[in-house]
Assembly symmetry: C2
Homo-oligomer: 127 residues x 2
DNA sequence: TTTGAAAATAGTAATAATTATTATTTTCAA
DNA sequence: TTGAAAATAATAATTATTACTATTTTCAAA
């Protein structure tokens, strides 16, 4: 049975108002403002809980720590190859893409994750 | 200046003949047949080298260790949500997809990585 | 062919990210 | 109220990978 916790509530609200795709570490540091004694383990546990419940999304970039997104509407992400920053991609998820992938596949496809790579506006301009 | 090494040669050949998307650990254990004293660090260093040179591909699944693929022809991968096995998806890379993503994006998109998720034939059949 | 500097190696230590453990505190239905 | 279940803070442990270092290998030039 899930019980309420101030910490989880606050973490969720934080992600709902900060669309910056923060890492667990960043969430942890920012949570410390409100809960000076909060532990990193609590942040991880609640991020996992919220992700499992579908209330937030986990973004695994492949290198560096995972990032978290309070925007649960399906969307794609861009990851800057230089600074590692994660940005939203304004595009509808491609359902035809998934259907096509399933055509010659002997198992069952339930979803897909796409990350776009390249250079973010800042890095492209030479920052 | 890159110098030849028996170990790197063998790792590359192993990946060219085993399309099983092995982890560094698996490559390491199998290399031990030929090089009983090979070190895990050597395997990692060479996998990184080969990947950087574009001679193999690194597959970061998001959880669990990275996997490596000797097939450098661009293609997609399927990752089983139950057993974690990685399978090839028989589909042409979608260039229109990337073009679409770049339309409203203020930076520069140079590539994308897509992983499909679901249940592999074995797990679907209840193994 | 030697030779010797650069690169690679094996062995090991260190790091980064995350999960597990545990004693204490909080939540909340009865 | 109360007390069992869940959550927490603090900390230890684990996993995957990279870094360090003394020794060995490679290979171009003598």
């Amino acid at each position: 049975m899930l019980k309420h916790s101030k910490q989880r509530e606050s973490i969720k609200q934080y992600l709902e108002t900060h669309y910056t795709h923060p890492t667990a570490e960043t969430v942890y540091l920012d949570m410390k403002e409100e809960f000076p004694n909060i532990s990193l383990g609590t942040v991880y546990r609640n991020l996992n809980l919220l992700a499992d419940m579908g209330e937030i999304i986990r973004i695994s970039s492949g290198n560096g720590p995972d990032r978290y997104d309070g925007n649960t509407k399906p969307h794609y992400h861009f990851i800057c190859s230089k600074c590692g920053d994660v940005l939203d991609i304004d595009m509808e998820p491609d359902t035809a893409f998934m259907a096509q992938a399933g055509k010659n596949f002997p198992g069952i496809i339930t979803g897909h994750v796409t990350h776009f790579f390249g250079y973010c506006p800042k890095c492209h301009k030479g920052n």
